[in-house]
């Protein structure tokens, strides 16, 4: 098994955090993991992205040319990555901010209005966790329990309300998709 996922969005939408948590989750489930955040000038104001590879074998390259999954948080990300996803792959798109839809017919597409859902929680900051929850459920790469564990280890020593609001958002996203 070797599964590649690209998370992409505006710098500040938390795409690197999504990738980081998935990578930690994979590590906790004893998989081989690489996580490569973009570090170019594009981080400033443009699209930020983060590639995560999970595998049961040694990982040769942390760069994903044809990912199985793409998690897209804004319009530019859709244009940049829709043609890179493998045939039969899956796109998770933030329908609050992405108006167009992929032209390709060979992809599975999940639409999650994460910014609108975040309004229910009165915090736009956790929209990435809503997306991650939805992604975890449908991608089935790591369990919700593992991601909760990863969240706790990442945010546990900060303000407890941050951990709580992130967990709530994760669950909201997880339950959003049937």
């Amino acid at each position: 098994m070797l599964i590649k996922t690209i998370f992409s969005g505006f710098g500040g939408q938390g795409v690197v955090m999504m990738g980081y948590l998935l990578a930690i989750g994979g590590m906790y489930e004893d998989k081989n993991v690489t996580c490569l955040p973009s570090y170019g000038a594009e981080v400033r104001g443009g699209t930020a992205n983060c590639t995560v590879v999970l595998s049961t074998e040694e990982i040769a390259s942390p760069v994903a040319s044809e990912p199985e999954f793409a998690v897209l948080m804004n319009n530019p990300s859709l244009f940049r990555f829709q043609n890179q996803v493998q045939s039969g792959g899956t796109i998770f798109l933030n329908s609050s901010m992405i108006e167009s839809r992929p032209i390709r017919g060979d992809l599975e597409i999940y639409e999650i209005p994460v910014n609108d859902l975040a309004k229910q929680l009165h915090s736009n900051k956790v929209s990435n966790m809503i997306m991650l929850g939805a992604f975890i459920k449908k991608a089935g790469l790591v369990s919700l329990e593992t991601i909760n564990h990863a969240l706790k280890d990442t945010f546990g020593n900060r303000n407890p309300t941050i951990l709580k609001s992130n967990k709530t958002a994760l669950l909201l996203g997880y339950n959003y998709l049937e």
Binding site: Y20, M27, L36, A60
Partner: protein
């Protein structure tokens, strides 16, 4: 010890601290900025920890010279253009026989180039850009775990041989995160005693460290002494790794990031029945000349893959001494090939040469 998910640059910094490094001097440059960032916090909380963001790369390498003369485990890091500036200091470290660790998270060049991962600093690292007859140990990790192990080991090698050690990584290794088991923390007081450092001569005869040796006979003797040291290192510290070599008809030679991508490609080709193997030099100096020459007993064809225009290629040719046949494929400028892409290149060569 449980594994932690860490970025390559942070792995280097934390492993250095665990190896007893208490002196870090640097100047910012992408893609290694996370090393000084991490060190500034980590060292400021440690007893005797010193972090200085110097006014330039040249200043920072000379601060390393000072800290090393005083007996501390010292490190600096940079990327290509910054390492160019440090060459004068590296020559002085070599002349003075001072231990130091220099990390190069290399990027596309020449000139300012770009910030994408490239292996174009192979010549600079293994031949040395500084003046004089000197060598530095050069280690080329290919994963975050190896970054940890080799950085840790680099400090011991530097002290053991009184030599600067270069860690040659690249932007990809510096930026990517992988699970890592960190090495244990050394107790600085238990490190081997150094009987040559400058600590103030109270109660003992004074010591002297200098690189100016005006008498040619004396300078010649100093050079021979260095030479004997380099021969000893070549004998004892040459490191490499082979995979799928036993029945290989074609051996790929690659180091660092290129080697891990090549290994992925070779696994694909093995699935299709192609008999391709890999030899990965881990120490670029001393280079595993003998190990490569030894392979010619079983393999005649070698495929060198680098993320540059063919630098290690020259060492492979030196190793083969005209034996066997060498083919080169390189991608300069910061291009990272996928295992699938490089497997296509290697397998087309494999079939052209009628190995399959």
């Amino acid at each position: 010890m449980p594994k932690v998910l860490m970025r390559g640059n942070h792995v280097v910094a934390e492993s250095a601290v665990r190896a007893g490094c208490r002196f870090y001097f640097g100047y910012p440059i992408t893609p290694q900025n996370e090393i000084p960032e991490y060190m500034s916090e980590r060292l400021s909380k440690l007893d005797g920890g010193v972090f200085i963001q110097a006014e330039s790369e040249i200043a920072s390498i000379h601060m390393v010279i000072g800290a090393s003369m005083a007996g501390g485990r010292a490190m600096t890091s940079s990327s290509g253009p910054g390492i160019s500036l440090k060459q004068e200091g590296i020559s002085f470290l070599s002349a003075l026989e001072l231990p130091a660790v220099i990390v190069n998270m290399s990027r596309g060049g020449p000139g300012l180039g770009n910030i994408a991962p490239s292996q174009s600093d192979y010549f600079q690292a293994t031949r040395g850009g500084g003046h004089g007859d000197y060598r530095t140990i050069v280690l080329a990790p290919n994963s975050c775990q190896e970054l940890a192990n080799l950085t840790y080991k680099a400090f011991d090698l530097a002290d053991k041989y009184r030599i600067p050690v270069v860690i040659l990584g690249d932007g990809m290794l510096g930026q990517m995160m992988e699970p890592v088991e960190l090495p244990p923390e050394v107790q600085i007081k238990k490190l081997p005693h150094k009987d040559w450092i400058l600590t103030g001569a109270k109660g003992r005869p004074s010591r002297f460290l200098r690189s100016l040796i005006l008498d040619p006979f004396e300078e010649e003797e100093h050079n021979w002494k260095l030479m004997r040291k380099y021969e000893r290192i070549t004998k004892e510290e040459t490191k490499w790794e082979t995979s799928f070599a036993d029945d290989a008809k074609l051996m790929v030679v690659a180091f660092g990031s290129a080697a891990r991508i090549a290994k992925g490609a070779i696994k694909r080709m093995r699935d299709e029945g192609l008999k391709v193997g890999l030899i990965r030099p881990i120490s670029l100096w001393p280079f595993p000349y003998k190990a490569i020459k030894e392979l010619t007993k079983k393999v005649r064809r070698f495929f060198v893959f680098e993320m540059n225009m063919g630098q290690m290629l020259e060492d492979v040719k030196l190793a083969l001494e005209g034996d066997g046949e060498v083919h080169f494929y390189g991608r300069p400028g910061g291009i990272i090939l996928t295992p699938l892409e490089i497997s296509r290149v290697i397998s087309s060569y494999y079939y052209q040469k009628r190995l399959g």
